[in-house]
Amino acid sequence: MNIQEIQQEIIDEFAMFQDWMQRYEHMIDLGKSLPLIAEEFKTEDNIIKGCQSKVWVHAELKNDQLEFTADSDAIITKGIIAILIRVFSNQHPKDILDAETDFIDQIGLKEHLSPTRANGLVSMIKQIKMYAIAFQTQLN
């Protein structure tokens, strides 16, 4: 699936929920099911600044596609990063760079988008795009 199709899938998934509590419960489940990042990548370098909780994101290029792994010490934050990884992992760096991120708005998590929000969703997206730029340059 391409990025847009995955985003649509997530939008449809969240549309089934009636209220914030169900959305949060789903996000928490997603956080719990996020595959663990290898301990060796939980380094200071991989920490995303600007989050009240710790978030580590690691990227590797495999067959011209970027594979992301991540972790956080807070479960809601982990849920958010799990959604981002589902969208952006195993995609071509150029597609990641071109992707819109307004699906966040459509799944009722807009409140997390504010740049001053302590969970750093904006910083996470920025970091993912930075990885994409770096690897895109490498591919050229």
Partner: protein, 404 residues
């Protein structure tokens, strides 16, 4: 007779909803809410006599000056300062601390020692570290125990004739501990050291008498005690403030200016360069009137009741641990539940309209001490109720159920 429902009518913000739920505001240690009386004073100033103070010949300026200076007197009387000019109006606690830290960079020598406590807010750590960098002075730390109580024996051992300044918060923002500042001041004076007490967290709950304490410097912020943000106090003993070099240069703080030499104005203006926060200063005075109208003993007694009530209910929750259990504490409860991240609990409570603080509370050394990333902090004020605490407990139980 203290009637919390009557009191709540003074605070318009308490009527609003957040995320569709009635607001429950338990982040009072970060900033307090503002009663109509204070809001009215601010709008009255801008509607009726807004003008620059201390220099105008016209009536409006004189009127504003009178009200502003009257507010300074209210602050003086509240803290029982001996002189009105010992009350410097600043932009807040951080500004007040920086005035002292900046002044002492010209008064200290390499090898002099400064002392802070293990439970300081970053604003009472970083300016002193910077001062040490500038002067070669050495920073010592008074340790604390697991209950969040300062180790006074260790304090004795650290004190010496090399100690020049001691900085301790009256009340810890993260733990609520009320520190034994009388004893600290007495012992520090015994070796000739001066003492600055950060009263930001104490002022909303405790009426401090700076003369009885014999404290050298006492600082606080108006927004912690029902006043507006951007205004605070630096109290200092007259002779010490006279001795201290000014912090910022500018208008208002001078006596004579020529290109060859400038002489500084007398206290308090020496430390009040530029146009001050006039409405803020006036509102600061009004906030003290408001709180004194209720009575600090009444406030402290009611808040203590809330503290006891909430502590008992929180402790009944499986896996919940409270950080800071000093025998003397204000209505602040820092806690975690098992290994759930405080951010997760705070986020879910927010969805329920309950405002608590999460994180390290600008006191990272305390979090390092307990080896935790942060805590959830609920801090109560006299306008909070037991019913609100009940709602928070239910919300917390729901959050734990979701997060586990």
């Amino acid at each position: 007779m203290f009637d919390v429902n009557k009191i709540r009518e003074d605070f318009p913000i308490l009527e609003r909803t957040v995320n569709g739920q009635p607001l429950i505001y338990f982040d009072n240690a970060a900033t307090s809410q503002t009663p109509n009386q204070v809001i009215d004073v601010i709008s009255d100033y801008y509607q009726n006599y807004n003008s620059n103070i201390h220099r105008g010949v016209h009536s409006l300026s004189q009127e504003a000056t009178d009200v502003y200076e009257n507010a300074r007197q209210k602050i003086q009387h509240h803290f029982n300062a001996a002189q009105t000019h010992e009350v410097i109006l600043t932009s807040g606690t951080t500004h007040s601390i920086n005035i002292i830290a900046s002044g002492y960079s010209q008064l200290l020598q390499a090898g002099d020692e400064l002392m802070i406590s293990a439970m300081e807010h970053h604003s009472n750590i970083v300016p002193w570290q910077m001062l040490c960098d500038r002067t070669g002075a050495i920073l010592k730390v008074i340790p604390m125990d697991h209950a969040g109580v300062l180790d006074m024996n260790a304090f004795n051992d650290l004190l010496s004739t090399k100690t020049k300044l001691v900085f301790v918060n009256h009340v810890s923002n993260a733990l609520g501990t009320v520190n034994p500042i009388e004893e600290i001041i007495k012992r520090a004076h015994g070796v000739g050291a001066k003492v600055l007490i950060d009263g930001a967290q104490a002022s909303p709950h405790i009426k401090t008498d700076v003369q009885a304490l014999d404290v050298d410097y006492y600082v606080t912020s108006a927004h912690k005690l029902c006043g507006p943000t951007g205004v605070g106090m630096l109290y200092g003993k007259e002779e010490l403030l006279n001795h201290l070099p000014p912090y910022q240069g500018g208008g208002e703080m001078i006596a004579e200016v020529s290109f060859e030499k400038t002489t500084y104005a007398d206290l308090p203006h020496k430390f009040e360069a530029g146009t001050p926060n006039i409405a803020g200063g006036i509102a600061f005075g009004e906030a003290l009137d408001y709180m004194n109208g209720i009575g600090f003993e009444t406030i402290a007694a009611y808040e203590h009741e809330l503290l006891i009530y909430a502590t008992a209910q929180l402790k009944a929750i499986d896996g919940l641990k409270i950080y800071g259990e000093a025998p003397q504490k204000t209505a602040v409860i820092s806690f975690n539940v098992d290994d759930i991240h405080p951010y997760d609990i705070g986020s879910i409570l927010d969805k329920m309209g309950i405002a608590v603080r999460t994180g390290h509370h600008c006191a990272q050394p305390i979090m390092d001490f307990y080896k935790i990333p942060g805590t959830v902090r609920a801090s109560f004020s006299f306008y909070n109720t037991k019913e609100e605490i009940d709602t928070m407990i239910k919300g917390l139980q729901k959050a734990i159920q979701m997060l586990k």
